[in-house]
Symmetry: C2
Subunit: 210 residues, 2 copies
């Protein structure tokens, strides 16, 4: 969907090398601090090839950000496919995001750097969450304060959790503890009963990746 329609194998290989190099470099520093020379050197292609695939540096950065966004969006969508309870969907979304961050620290770093996302209820990645909250509110599943500010609250937690998990040096057990605790804290704040919150946070079958 993202790639322009029908790319020749050779072109696809070059493009993929550039994109991979971009993720490696963009994870560590902002686009303006990365010379194109460094991108093409890392990718092992000629400088001119860069402009066969991207109009300029900004377009390159935007393409990478969009790619991760769509990827994560897809994973969340697939994980929640068929789940009707909005609370389960909301919780599942956080867990998928967390798992994604652990599995793809570089891509996640690029996503987090592309900023501004948290606050915007209309952002595509956030649209689904907003819908789930609306439904949860309609069904009376969440508290009063969560009706106005629940989305902001939840996205803030997701972002903080992802940023935390992206750091190196994490050990897997501690990471899982963080995810579970964050779910318990988050759900409790929404007004979910303590035991239900712990049960939902512990459950993970339906939202394991893929």
């Amino acid at each position: 969907m993202l790639d322009q329609p029908e790319l020749s194998p050779r072109a696809a290989r070059t493009r993929a090398a550039l994109v991979a190099a971009g993720f490696d470099l963009l994870a560590a520093k902002p686009i303006d601090a990365i010379p194109i020379d460094e991108v093409v050197a890392t990718a092992g292609v000629a400088k001119g090839s860069f402009f066969n695939h991207f109009a300029d540096k900004q377009a390159f950065a935007a393409a990478l950000a969009t790619e991760v966004r769509l990827e994560l969006e897809g994973q969340v969508g697939r994980a929640n496919d068929g789940i009707v309870d909005p609370i389960e969907r909301i919780a599942g979304g956080m867990r998928v995001c967390a798992t994604f961050a652990i599995d793809n620290p570089k891509r996640t770093a690029v996503l987090l750097r592309s900023a501004g996302s948290v606050t915007d209820r209309k952002h595509p990645l956030n649209k689904g969450v907003a819908d789930d909250f609306d439904e949860a509110a309609t069904l009376g599943l969440i508290g009063a304060a969560a009706r106005g500010s629940g989305v902001l609250y939840w996205l803030g937690l997701c972002q903080a959790l992802m940023a935390h998990l992206v750091e190196p040096k994490r050990d897997p057990a501690e990471a899982q503890a963080r995810i579970t605790e964050m779910l318990v804290l988050g759900l409790t704040g929404l007004g979910i009963d303590r035991h239900r919150a712990e049960a939902v946070a512990a459950r993970c079958g339906h939202c394991s990746r893929r």
Copy 2:
């Protein structure tokens, strides 16, 4: 404290003009996207003057970030001075941050852009919060999950709230609602009793600015 010891009035004026221009520009775009020419033009000083005050562009950006950080840190510290209940301190910190964001959108934008802060428990701005959580845990005021992940949880909420309040077009009433709701949600998540949470969120005397 931030200014080098004893700056002549003339030098102080020039420096202040550069700093003010820096906040205006840095609020909108990252430092790498801002030519020094633009900074000095905005400040109305000669290009050479820039280097009388800052070693280079990065040092300039770092100085601005540090300045806001210290300012906010000071406000939180002063607001919490004399308050012993860790729950009140934790809540007061969020409210001060929110008020700061409303009153200083540009400075806040610079602070938020200087990134990485949320996740780091050892960061100076976060040190106080971590201490308050430790004490709250010791006193048994907060739930089990909050002992391990409470700081990350709370800092995530503060950052999301600030990022939200910094946007233009906010009307004051809606902003206050957001702050109160975020406090209620946040405190409830920590395991604070619903009525206590609402009471603390509603109270604001001790943490009004200055």
